[in-house]
Amino acid sequence: MPIIFSKGADVLLRRVVSVVILTVALGTAVVWYYFTPKYTRVGYAPEQPVPFSHEQHAGKLGMSCLYCHTNVERSPHANVPSTQTCMSCHTQIKANSPLLSPVRESWSSGEPVDWKRIHKVPDYAYFNHALHINRGVGCASCHGQVNEMKVVYHAEPLSMAWCLDCHRKPEAHLRPAEEALNMSWKPPSEKTQSEVGRQLIEQFHINPGQNCQGCHR
């Protein structure tokens, strides 16, 4: 009977098998990390037409989020301010700054400023800002420390798993509803976050949905 496999065949087989296993493992790892929102979204900081600094406005000047995002307590959308809102201050302050020229142009032409959208959930997911703000989820929980951002970037993955983490364990993120807009809120020193959270859950019957119906329509 002729020999089909040479002496090296066993070695070759082992090598091939280990290369395949390694490739698959590596591929899985690459996809696991690089193809998920943790990588694709977090850190996304597109260049905006106006280099608006939240650090300056919300941080140093201490303006309330509500000054610009007026509807966040009432509407599903946290609106981006109209040109009018910008111009209410910037007709006096830095009225001739070249950086603000797109805003002035918009004001005179009536065409909107072409902001780039950073936070976006898919079209089939419906997020409600008003509900979260009124039930004690702070801005910072999803958007990060915006008051410290010179350029706003995507701070959290906003993936479904990430949403569900909080919906399953809301005590880790809840705060009193009146502190929702406070970017630097910390649980009082004598209590831990989960103690505060659990107390709020009990007090306000907070029962975040974990059901498809809540977000997908």
Binding site: Y44, S82, T83, P112, K116, R117, Y124, L131
Partner: protein, 1035 residues
């Protein structure tokens, strides 16, 4: 299993088998006679060749090649994250909260009337129409056409620019022309200037007409409506000596006799009528006794379907019936008086005319007895298209029965001298018309064909047409001006009873159109051409109220108590007697050798004005279940006589004019009477409406406006495929729709333990532990089949249309299917309608077979479909016993209907205009996804969010019953659909579930549906039922 006891649905009791008549219902003639075609349809499951592409130019192989190619290209494009812009307002508009809808009250003009609505706008885009709850004409409900009006606004085929003899022109050019032309007309005091408008009841337009009469006294105004209400006016004038407007109060009527009146269907005020009528069909809640409806008609209508007794008579014999009823009633009410009182004279004249037709004796005697027993609480109605004499006699009898002021209110409205289309055509023939301004009307399409309007129009030197679409009339007119849609302009309107309501713009004109008010004001040099200012002047004149009241008027969408004054009137016996004597000697010898043809407004397209509306085209007609077509409707006996079957193309010849129309054999049609719905066969409606169906206006003449006797019928030998949905998803003759008589219902023992709500547990039952348990009850006793719910659902839930070819394959996407059932004999059956959407089974068969968990149950009892999980196996649809799941076979939202199977590289995407209509709260589904009724989950969530926000800062929140209303229930004029929370024992829905006539559809399968039905209760007259039975046996 952690079923909370309070969340268990109440014990559902079946109607006892003794009175259960569900199994006697049938859906089509083919099913009744068990024809082979029908069996084949059922056994095939999918229609013949459903899987093959017949219409396209792309072969299957080529399509696969292109798909593979596009897949390769798609890989390259997917690497970059796309930029999404955010475009905020520059100036913050008042009262717009991005993300939350705002509603505005406005009004839709209808022939001689109006329909008040609330329009939901999303950031300035009108997206959904609801009825105006403050207006008596709507009371929060809508009809089919009102729901679909929003689609017309965004119709890409709408007129976009000013045209002069077919060439694009500008408004500036028109204004310059108008200025010089009008100067000439002013010199001649308007001689030769004629206006032709639709029957628009608008005080602002009346104001302008008055101004016109002052400055241009020689100018003439004409009004044309294809389905107008002249006969109603003439009938009232005949009976009372002046043109009073009758309005009806069905809530006060115990006995209603309708002669060819489709007051629950296509006639004006149908929504208010249905609400009032249904109020008296609520067997449990109503203190007043259930009403009884007699209908005499030639073709089956929505109203006929609700009748307790229905008599089929050819249209030409309805007058005979009216005369016979008048004779019977009058001789019984006035029997003790002498022979020379006015009543006896009238009776004598009726006897003198003689009745050539034998009428079923019981139908005259027993109906008269019933009417006499309900004096002051009865109502006799004549259809809008019935002859003047029938209207006159109906008024007389209502007066005689003491119904005036109780069930019939007569109102006096301001009179105005307005001329007809016939008079205009005469003037045009004589060459007296120098300038014709057509406002919105389309006479070239819908005028009686003997007027030859299109031909005569060419003789007019200057023609100007203002229209929403470049239509048949604009093709002949020199100037065509784009008209502003009624959601784009200011105006005002009155319903037929005179209730005053505003028309206010919700969006700036999309295509730079102008309103009729603006054009007329310009042409008669009114002090302003701003419609807003004209409306304010009109408001001040109509009401004597100030600006504060005007703002309230705009807010409410109605001026309360502004209807015309109610007047008393006594019938003019002598005039009616003369009319009977002088009336045409009736040769009502309709029979096998002398067929009759009648015309009626289509239940969806009305007179053809809605022909380019895809939603309406695809809504199945409530009775024939036809989509995308009209057909000559024949009774089974007439069809047998002529050897015709459904789909045969017939050539109809009426007084020398011919028309080819497909036949549709419909049980319940009067024998020897053929009826043709108008509104189809448009040639210049737009891409949707062009060439759909046949155009009956070609047979319609001034003399034979509503019907003609002596139509010749010839089979052409060709056939036409009618897209009829009646057999789609047949349910194999189970007792799905149930009814019983009022007496049987009263005799029913109180709630019995249900034999059929068998609840075998699933292997993994859903935990129904939500705070709310949503469910629905549909009352078949109130459901008329009008199909407003179907379009309301389509509008709310972004449901696409699929086109005739796809409907033929059984792929229509409507989440609500209105099943039509017949019961009784094939010739003269009773009709029942049943809406079926997803019933949200607690033990849902669809959920257990989904391999990707796209069909899942929510703790609140909703059967959810998760679009982003769905991979399109369609197992769920196969396993659904109710056949309510709909699959997106193609990218209906991304492709025009004629390019559904164009290659994958072909242009894709939804036109921006159509995107504007979409409800932003509902996902627009793509190809390959299953969808179905969600109980309007977006509205549930909006309601819950609202309640939670209101309760923010406190512990519990509750949702009051009636806060959350799905689109179908909101639109329903009959309030047949109740939605609510089953866990609240006081909710209307929980109460309704305890009724003995409550039953589950296919409850024996143990699916435990959340939607249940309430059996229909009929209220027949036992004495008439007995005589009908005898006559049937004799016959």
């Amino acid at each position: 299993m952690n079923h909370c006891p309070s969340h268990q649905p109440p014990k559902v009791s079946a109607l006892p088998t003794a009175v259960l008549v569900g199994k006697e219902y049938w859906r089509s003639l083919d099913e009744l006679f068990d024809k082979p075609e029908y069996r084949e349809w059922l056994e095939r499951e999918f229609p013949n060749q459903a899987s093959e592409w017949l219409g396209g130019t792309v072969s299957r192989r080529r399509a696969l090649q292109l798909m593979a190619a596009s897949l390769g290209l798609a890989g390259l494009a997917g690497c970059r994250r796309p930029d999404y812009p955010i475009l905020p307002y520059t100036k913050t508009p008042e009262s717009v909260l991005p993300g939350l809808p705002t509603s505005y009250a406005t009004t839709i003009h209808r022939p001689g009337s109006a329909f008040p609505v609330l329009v939901e706008t999303q950031e300035g885009r009108p997206t959904k129409i609801e009825g105006n709850p403050l207006h008596p004409w709507s009371q929060g409900a809508t009809d089919l056409q009102a729901q679909a009006a929003v689609l017309d606004l965004y119709d890409p085929d709408r007129s976009r620019e000013v045209m002069l003899t077919g060439q694009p022109s500008t408004w500036q050019a028109f204004d310059a022309f108008a200025e010089t032309h009008i100067s000439g007309l002013f010199e001649r005091r308007g001689q030769g200037l004629h206006f032709l408008s639709e029957d628009v009841s608008s005080p602002a337009l009346r104001l302008l007409r008055e101004h016109l009469r002052q400055v241009l006294p020689e100018a003439v105004w004409h009004v044309h409506e294809a389905m107008g209400s002249e006969n109603v006016d003439h009938g009232a004038a005949l009976a009372f000596g002046k043109p009073l407007t009758p309005t009806y109060r069905f809530q006060n009527a115990d006995v209603i006799v309708s002669l060819g009146s489709d007051f629950l269907g296509v006639e004006d005020g149908a929504v208010a009528n249905t609400r009032a009528f249904a109020e008296r069909r609520k067997v449990e809640d109503s203190l007043a006794p259930m009403n009884r409806l007699y209908v005499v008609e030639n073709h089956p209508t929505t109203t006929g379907g609700m009748a307790d007794h229905r008599l089929r008579l050819p249209a030409s014999q309805l007058q005979e019936y009216m005369l016979a009823l008048a004779r019977e009633l009058l001789s019984r009410t006035r029997q003790d008086q002498g022979s020379d009182n006015p009543s006896s004279k009238l009776v004598k004249s009726i006897v003198g005319v003689g009745s050539p037709v034998p009428l079923p004796s019981g139908w005259v005697r027993e109906v008269a007895t019933d009417l006499l027993a309900a004096r002051g609480r009865s109502l006799i109605l004549a259809g809008q298209q019935q002859p003047t004499l029938v209207h006159g006699l109906a008024h007389l009898l209502n007066a005689e029965l003491g119904n005036l002021g109780n069930t019939v209110l007569l109102r006096e409205r301001p009179e105005e001298r307005i001329k007809s289309l016939g008079e205009l055509t005469e003037s045009m023939r004589r060459g007296e018309v120098g300038t014709l301004v057509v406002l919105g009307s389309n006479p070239v399409y819908d005028a009686p064909s003997d007027l030859e309007f299109g031909v005569v129009l060419k003789r007019v030197p200057h023609t100007i047409q203002l229209g929403l679409y470049p239509d048949e009339t604009s093709a002949v007119c020199a100037w065509h001006l784009p008209m502003a849609h009624f959601f784009e302009c200011w105006g005002d309107a009155e319903t037929a009873d005179g209730t005053y309501s505003p028309v206010q713009p919700l969006i700036a004109p999309l295509f730079g159109g102008r309103s009729a008010l603006e054009i007329v004001a310009r042409l008669c040099r009114y002090e302003t051409t701003e419609p807003y200012e004209i409306v304010q002047s009109s408001f001040r004149r109509r009401t004597d109220l100030g600006m504060e009241a005007f703002r309230q008027f705009l807010h409410d969408g109605v001026l309360h108590d502004s209807a015309w004054p109610i007047v008393n009137a006594a019938p003019d016996w002598a005039a009616l007697t003369r009319a009977v004597e002088e009336g045409e000697k009736r040769t009502a010898d309709v029979g096998p050798n002398n067929l009759e043809l009648s015309f009626h407004a289509d239940r969806r397209l009305f007179d053809g004005r809605f022909a380019n509306n895809g939603w309406l085209q695809e809504t199945p007609d409530p009775l024939t279940k036809l989509t995308w077509d009209n057909a000559a409707i024949l009774s089974p006996a007439t069809a047998r006589l002529s050897g015709v079957t459904t789909g045969d193309v017939l050539e109809l010849n009426l007084a020398g004019r011919t028309l080819q129309a497909p036949a549709c054999v419909l049980p319940g049609q009067a024998d020897y009477s053929i009826s043709l719905p108008l509104g189809f066969g448009r040639t210049r409606a737009g891409r949707v409406g062009n060439g759909v169906g046949c155009n009956p206006y070609r047979l319609r003449t001034t003399a034979l406006l509503n019907m003609g006797v002596g139509v010749q019928l010839r089979k052409t030998g060709r056939t036409h495929r009618l897209a009829c949905t009646q057999d789609h998803g047949s349910m194999q003759g189970r007792d799905l729709v149930r009814s019983l008589t009022l007496q049987e219902y009263r005799d029913l023992p109180a709630a019995q333990a249900s034999a059929e709500s068998n609840s075998l547990p699933l292997y993994n039952p859903a935990a129904l532990d939500g705070q709310h348990q949503w469910c629905m009850v549909i009352d078949l006793n109130q459901f008329t089949g009008c199909s407003a719910c179907v379009v309301a659902c389509q509008s709310e839930n972004n449901i696409p249309i699929v086109g005739k070819d796809e409907v033929l394959r059984g792929r229509e996407m409507h989440w609500i299917r209105v099943d039509r059932y017949f019961t009784g004999s094939a010739d003269d059956p009773g009709v029942a309608h049943q809406p079926v959407a997803c019933v949200h089974c607690e033990n849902a068969p669809c959920e257990t077979v989904c391999p990707v968990n796209a069909a899942v149950h929510s703790p609140e009892g909703l059967n959810l479909q998760v679009y982003n999980r769905c991979i399109g196996t369609r197992y769920c649809a196969n396993n659904c016993p109710y056949k309510v799941r709909h699959f997106n076979w193609f990218d209906y939202n991304q492709r025009p209907l004629d390019q559904l199977l164009a290659g994958p590289l072909a242009e894709k995407g939804m036109p921006e205009l159509l995107q504007m209509q979409k409800n932003p709260d509902v996902t627009v589904r793509m190809r390959g996804v299953m969808e179905k009724c969600t109980y309007c989950v977006q509205r549930i969530e909006r309601g819950k969010t609202g309640a939670r926000l209101e309760a923010a800062g406190s512990a519990a929140y509750s949702i009051p019953d009636g806060t959350i209303v799905p689109a179908c229930a909101q639109a329903c004029p009959a309030q047949a659909i109740i939605f609510g929370d089953l866990s609240d024992p006081n909710s209307r829905v929980a109460q309704a579930k305890h009724r003995t006539r409550n039953y589950d559809l296919l409850g024996e399968l143990g699916t435990r549906p959340r939607t249940s039905y309430q059996g229909r209760v009929r209220n027949p007259n036992p004495r008439l039922a007995a005589t009908e039975l005898v006559e049937e046996e004799d016959g």
